[in-house]
Symmetry: C2
Subunit: 249 residues, 2 copies
């Protein structure tokens, strides 16, 4: 059984077939959420975990005056702790960007899982570490990268994350994000995103058409973004960067 979730977790540890079937057993039947609909579970078991099985979602924060900031993107295999819903008021929400399939792993099941499979426990732990590393990288992007660098870095990140679950080939991947989405993620306006995008196209770094990103000049894009896939904690990516080191010598 090979799902997007197991493919994702396999980036952190190698899973046995018993791990896979244990995981399949503990996952509740997924529910489907339509685009632009919030994924909310009020008053849920704090130890439970929600897993995106398919589709794209995002954490975001909305101010009263209309300003919106996307805090992170959730791709297939990504987990979100529902602990946030325990707070009196939610400080942020999670919304589907495309049609999303989401499954819950109840707290009791998580406990059983950690008890019975050290590999799965480690995989989920690393998934959490990778998530916070991505968040730190966003801090760096928003703080110190220029418009073009930010956009380039985000595309590199998403391409690498999609590649890790087999949803991207060497040079292209799906890109359902609209320009308003990109703007809210990168802390800019859609007008500016549009112009920066045109610069990247003019520089022959990438093409973006029909909800699909094609990277025309991977090295150029990575160099512009100062992108180093190491922080994603993907073993595959780490091997790739090792290979690059060798090439450089």
């Amino acid at each position: 059984m090979d799902t997007l979730l197991t493919r994702k977790l396999s980036n952190y540890v190698s899973l046995s077939s018993t791990d896979r079937s244990l995981l399949a057993k503990l996952l509740e039947p997924p529910r489907i959420v339509e685009p632009r609909v919030d994924i909310v579970e009020e008053g849920e078991d704090p130890r439970a975990v929600n897993v995106v099985l398919d589709g794209w979602a995002c954490r975001y924060r909305q101010f009263e005056d209309g300003r919106r900031q996307i805090i992170s993107f959730l791709l297939p295999g990504d987990c979100c702790d529902p602990y946030i819903y325990l707070l009196d008021r939610r400080d942020h929400a999670i919304a589907a960007l495309t049609q999303v399939a989401i499954a819950r792993i109840p707290g009791a099941s998580m406990a059983e899982l950690t008890a019975r499979s050290p590999a799965l426990a480690l995989a989920f732990h690393r998934e959490a570490l990778a998530g916070t590393a991505i968040q730190r990288e966003w801090t760096v992007s928003l703080g110190r990268r220029s418009g073009a660098e930010r956009l380039a870095h985000l595309f590199c990140e998403l391409h690498a994350r999609l590649a890790a679950i087999g949803l991207a080939d060497e040079t292209s991947c799906p890109m359902p994000l609209t320009q308003p989405d990109l703007a809210d993620a990168l802390g800019q306006t859609t007008v500016h995103i549009n112009r920066t995008l045109q610069d990247l196209r003019a520089a022959r770094l990438l093409a973006l058409k029909g909800r699909r990103l094609t990277v025309l000049d991977p090295d150029g894009l990575r160099h512009l973004a100062k992108f180093d896939p190491l922080y994603l904690h993907q073993t595959a990516a780490r091997d790739a960067s090792r290979r690059l080191e060798v090439v450089k010598l």
Copy 2:
């Protein structure tokens, strides 16, 4: 035994005296790191945890061209996973800002701790959750808050975190950060920080002198920052906000 670390953890769960003595037993003797010196432990046990016992530190990322971004501030009681040092190259570093006392909890001790004290295990887990929540809040700040709002929000955050460990009174707290530090944390230049600071002073919101922050108008500052202490996961703060709710009615 009441240390800054136990005070911090007591914000998440109440600790018994056996919890406290267990923690004291498992902490290695602290080492002192001078200001501006990197806190590095290469090739360390990935399960180990480094705890700041006293002083201020920061995670930061430095680009070759000189740009620097401070990713987060580490205050007394804050933990940092050394797992980052396992990567081939470190993607970011941690430096002392003031003189810092830092203690290691080896991986084996962490295992013993989780096994013998569910309360401490939960406390450390919540500490990690609070850390990622703070990181998300920084994403929001850097993405969508104006210069003045960012500065105000950071001061609110730091004051609240210091208050939680008894290092701040109602209206003031130590503030060892220089304007270059603030600039690198908030993604701006020191010149701009300086001018924004003057605006905040002119608005009679705060005073900043002699490495000490005094909040002259707490409500005004919180309102400008749109600061809601909920995300810090401090039970004390949550109670305070509940009290505020009542007052509003």
